[in-house]
Symmetry: C2
Subunit: 215 residues, 2 copies
DNA sequence: CCCTGGATTGGAACGACATTCCAATGTTGG
DNA sequence: CCAACATTGGAATGTCGTTCCAATCCAGGG
């Protein structure tokens, strides 16, 4: 039996989260996968929340590494896509990052994301007074849109393919009152034809255009 | 004892959520406040999640009522501020809306928000192909920024005042490695001097500028 | 080499929770 | 007034996070 360590526990947590979602991360699942007892785990991590935070950090850290790019906007797009892919691959990140943002915004992971995006914002020539606004708009759009994309993918689930999902989503939308939800329904038709990644990048570019316009 | 009803249960849930947060909403707290048993509540409500959704809807519904405005942008600002205030008054909304967005995006509350914002987006003269991108950027920024604002207010808590909070936040930021977090730290200085609401609106206007630029 | 103190482990025990179940009570139409 | 049904209150169940403790491991000093 290899020595138990914080890293091994966090790795096991990520694996469980990936296959069973946030509600699947129980101490029972952990003790079984690690062939140990709950007390041993508690010696290395304070509690379940700290473990969730550590798992989030372990998965996000590689994405927010500094990126060199000719254009600052390209650096932002690269980080945005990295986050998009990470959240698509680990759907539990969406809820987790949102919760962390609105529970303890100055925790460990969120400022790192903010910083990695902000570096490029300041390089864009935005006046200092606009840094917070520009950085916030980017980060909130990126995390929100990536999370929603992951949610769509999850609804799709293991079984079906894209066509099946779109059919289900269409059905759900058709059920909406056409009068009351005319915008949402009109948008549904547009979305079906576009690639998720491209659509996400279009949103990033929209915010970037806003930053450029108010510079 | 007045007749138990779904409305009374939802109202009690909102009251509990406001004073004790999401983790405070237990069936024990509900049965005590309503002077009844768990079984009675389960006859009106399927489970805890449905109750959380109903509480969210009850609090959000008044905010997403149609708004008439001379300029579409003003309508968007009005709805954004309504959401901002609702989330500030009921901080549990931040986590709840984020969770609902990334769990079942096509539930009941989220499309209503999307629709109420989208109406004004289409009135802005955005070409149809850009509706989804523009609406998404707005909604994600609004919910994300409002949630973060509520989180800041919560850290501040019942006891202290704004100066105390800013001192605590400063202290947290000073502890960050100045080299590694130079953008975040620079931004902290800017933020201290500005009104939260104005800062929030500046972000909305930034996204609106992006929409106008790509129109 | 052993022995002693701290580090680490495994699992039992505890209290809180969401949910289910059921007997009892209210209500209503024939 | 009496059957069917709607509604209630609370006891029972199983799962969870967390705490506690006895047992084991390990390193360094005598």
């Amino acid at each position: 039996m290899d020595a138990l360590s914080r890293e091994r526990i966090v790795a096991a947590a990520v694996a469980i989260l990936d296959t069973a979602g946030e509600s699947g991360l129980t101490f029972r699942a952990l003790t079984e996968r690690l062939a140990t007892g709950a007390g041993a785990i508690y010696w290395h991590v304070a509690n379940r929340n700290e473990l969730l935070d550590a798992a989030t950090e372990a998965v996000i850290a590689p994405v927010v590494k500094p990126v060199e790019a000719d254009e600052p906007a390209d650096g932002i797009r690269a980080i945005a896509l990295g986050l998009f892919d990470a959240i698509a691959e680990h759907p539990w990140l969406a809820t987790q990052l949102a919760t962390q943002l609105s529970r303890s915004p100055w925790g460990s992971v969120t400022p790192r994301i903010f910083e990695s995006i902000g570096r490029h914002v300041s390089a864009m020539g935005v006046p200092k007074a606009g840094w917070f606004t520009a950085g916030s708009a980017l980060v909130h759009y990126i995390l929100g849109a990536a999370g929603q994309n992951a949610a769509n993918a999850r609804v799709l689930g293991a079984g079906g393919d894209r066509a099946e999902f779109l059919a289900a989503a269409s059905a759900a939308w058709e059920r909406l009152d056409p009068e009351e939800y005319q915008f949402t329904r009109a948008v549904g038709d547009q979305v079906r034809e576009h690639d998720d990644r491209e659509q996400f990048l279009a949103g990033v570019d929209l915010v970037l255009a806003g930053i450029a316009a108010s510079r």
